[in-house]
């Protein structure tokens, strides 16, 4: 679900539906195609998830959540998210700040590398971490064994993979906002005697808060829903290294359809909540832009 990475936030809905460029049949055709695809690929699956989850009654639906493995999976997903989102927040702010406010050697490289997680298949991303951190054949196998550290098939590996996959989300949202804002307000704060932190918290941050918030919820949704990279590094040990998406797959493979879909409703609700929040943020930031 978390692949809804909207890059075009500046879409302004037209004031009226009367247009002079396209004829009515053309408009109808295009609209029908768009809505048809939307229902087929987004709405139908969403309905299917809830239908399958509740097919055999609310009782069975709720039973899923008393399964200790399901609870462990939810807990692990929340832990991983709690680790990766704040770290990405920090990285995203630092990267967006550096890219928009300074000129430095390697800046364009940073901008390019920032998109790498979008370009690389999540499976490859997972494999890279295995290659580095595996205790049997990884590059760092010896020191890891010596220190008795487990990264692959454990929480650190899952967190690393999730951080990697969600790396661009916050920075990508912040860069255009910060670019549009320029440096003048910060320089003004500087001439008025404000220090760096005061300027950051009272001038910079309030100006980018909606972009930041938007990046965080997207990052959060992706962190919770990531499957491919996590599947490679987790080892899928039930009750230990199984995250929610992994457990959903396991349940489905074991023909426990109701449980699988019941757990899937949580991720679907997360998706819906993310979309709602996203709309709320767009509405708010449009309002504050008018301000």
């Amino acid at each position: 679900m978390a692949s809804i990475v909207s890059r075009t936030r500046s879409f302004v809905p037209p004031k009226s539906f009367r247009t002079i460029t396209e004829s009515a049949p053309m408009r109808w055709t295009l609209t029908t195609i768009a809505l048809g695809f939307l229902s087929l690929f987004l709405l139908m699956p969403l309905i299917a998830v809830f239908y399958e989850a509740f097919k055999k009654g609310v009782h069975l639906y709720l039973a899923t959540f008393s399964d200790p493995y399901a609870i462990d999976a939810i807990r692990l997903t929340l832990t991983v998210t709690a680790i990766s989102v704040p770290l990405n927040l920090l990285f995203g702010l630092a990267a967006a700040w550096a890219i928009t406010k300074f000129t430095f050697r390697g800046k364009s490289l940073l901008v390019t590398v920032l998109d790498l997680p979008f370009a690389v298949s999540p499976v490859i991303a997972g494999l890279i971490f295995v290659l580095i951190f595996s205790t049997t054949h990884g590059w760092l196998a010896e020191p890891l064994k010596a220190w008795d550290l487990r990264i692959i098939f454990a929480l650190p590996g899952i967190a690393l993979a999730t951080i990697f996959i969600t790396l661009p989300f916050i920075a990508r949202e912040l860069i255009p906002v910060m670019q549009a804002q320029g440096r003048d307000e910060e320089l003004a704060a500087l001439t008025l005697g404000a220090g760096g932190w005061r300027t950051f918290f009272h001038v910079t941050l309030p100006n980018v808060k909606w972009g930041l918030f938007y990046g965080v919820i997207l990052c959060n949704a992706r962190a919770m829903g990531e499957f491919g990279a996590v599947a490679v590094v987790s080892g899928n040990i039930k009750g230990k290294t199984t995250t929610m998406p992994l457990y959903i797959e396991t349940l489905y493979m074991e023909y426990q359809t109701v449980s699988a879909f019941s757990l899937a409703t949580i991720l679907s609700l997360l998706a819906l909540a993310t979309l709602l929040l996203k709309n709320f943020i767009e509405w708010r930031s449009a309002k504050s832009a008018r301000h």
């Binding site: 003004a188 704060a189 001439t191 008025l192 005697g193 404000a194 008018r290």
Partner: protein
């Protein structure tokens, strides 16, 4: 407080923004940095404010009242800076904007809440925006935003006020009003003020002293009258107001290294061509008459050389002459300046008929 900048150079990559510029501004003056875009005027202002540093390898220093502030952070220099687009904090009210500097002071120096509120109200009164405390910048007009930016800069009681294109983003009417207002305002509070502009009219009307800049250098410094009446270079005469250019000497046989003659449009007098002309009058054809305003502008073409020039003629005089497009007239010049290699000279006999 006096400001002194010595041997300031600034390069951005390969681009030379300032080249060994020195400037002294006496205490309490209102000085304008005037020049076209790319002349280095804004860079100089930002260096004075501490928002840019002069090239480290050069000898550039900035002194405020004799004290070296070159390495001081902008917040510690005691400058009030007004940005071209105001740079108001958009998520803060007018009151919060103005009090920002006071609220940023270390706790020991920070005034009490009531004191801050009083200062804000005084400043709002000073800039004639009383009662707008709770507004957001987006709810203000351009002229009001400009004055809020000014009040915000003044709140920290700066020793120097620096304004970057202060009227650039305003429409013509507001610009004129605000210009006059700033003039009286500065006379009242007597703070050393430097503003950047590319508008010569603004610089001449507002400033005690005009610093004309071009190509990363200062071309001339002087009172508005001085720079207008005694320009030291072709750039200055051409940048300050309209001017006509003529080649010196006989157009068919120009003397070697002939200079350029400059005549202001208001120094051009038009006579009907039939009358006994002045001995140096030149014959010209009327190309066009622009007759809006007190003075009509008459576009002329010198017969023989096809040089185009312009005359400013009072409306009554225009009626007397009954000029029309295509007429041939005799033009005489009240004041001519010749620019040669070694500078300007004044001679009315230079324009061979």
């Amino acid at each position: 407080m006096s400001i002194q900048a010595t041997h300031i150079s600034k390069t951005f990559g390969d681009y030379r923004a300032l080249q060994n510029v020195s400037l002294t501004v006496p205490d309490g003056r209102l000085v304008s940095l005037l020049g076209p875009s790319g002349s280095g005027k804004t860079t100089l202002l930002r260096i004075l404010a501490g928002l840019e540093y002069p090239d480290p390898d050069a000898l550039g220093r900035v002194l405020f009242h004799g004290e070296d502030v070159t390495d001081l952070a902008p917040g510690k220099r005691g400058v009030g800076f007004v940005f071209q687009h105001y740079a108001l904090f958009r998520h803060m009210t007018v009151e919060k904007n103005i009090s920002f500097g006071l609220r940023s002071l270390p706790r020991s120096k920070r005034p009490s809440h009531d004191e801050i509120r009083k200062r804000v109200n005084n400043l709002l009164e000073l800039v004639q925006l009383d009662g707008l405390n709770a507004r957001y910048p987006s709810e203000l007009s351009g002229g009001q935003r400009q004055r809020v930016a000014l009040a915000r800069a003044l709140a920290v009681e700066p020793r120097v006020l620096l304004l970057d294109e202060p009227f650039g983003a305003l429409d013509a009417k507001v610009r004129k009003d605000l210009r006059r207002w700033l003039r009286t305002f500065q006379e009242e509070i007597k703070i050393t003020t430097i503003f950047v502009t590319h508008d010569q009219e603004e610089a001449l009307e507002l400033a005690d002293e005009v610093v004309v800049m071009n190509n990363a250098r200062i071309e001339q410094v002087g009172s508005p009258q001085e720079v207008y009446d005694n320009p030291k270079s072709p750039f200055v005469i051409e940048f300050l107001g309209n001017v006509n250019r003529f080649r010196a000497g006989d157009s068919n046989h120009p003397p070697p290294e002939a200079g350029v003659l400059y005549v202001r449009p208001h120094d051009v007098e038009i006579q009907p061509s039939g009358t006994t002309p002045h001995q140096h009058a030149i014959a010209a054809k009327v190309l066009h008459i622009f007759s809006a305003g007190n003075f009509a502008r008459v576009a002329l073409e010198r017969i023989g050389t096809h040089e185009h020039f312009e005359a400013e003629v009072p409306r009554e005089r225009l009626r007397e002459l009954a000029l029309e497009q295509g007429h041939t007239v005799a033009a005489t010049f009240r004041h001519i300046r010749l620019f040669e290699k070694n500078g300007f000279s004044e001679d009315t006999n230079l324009l061979a008929p």
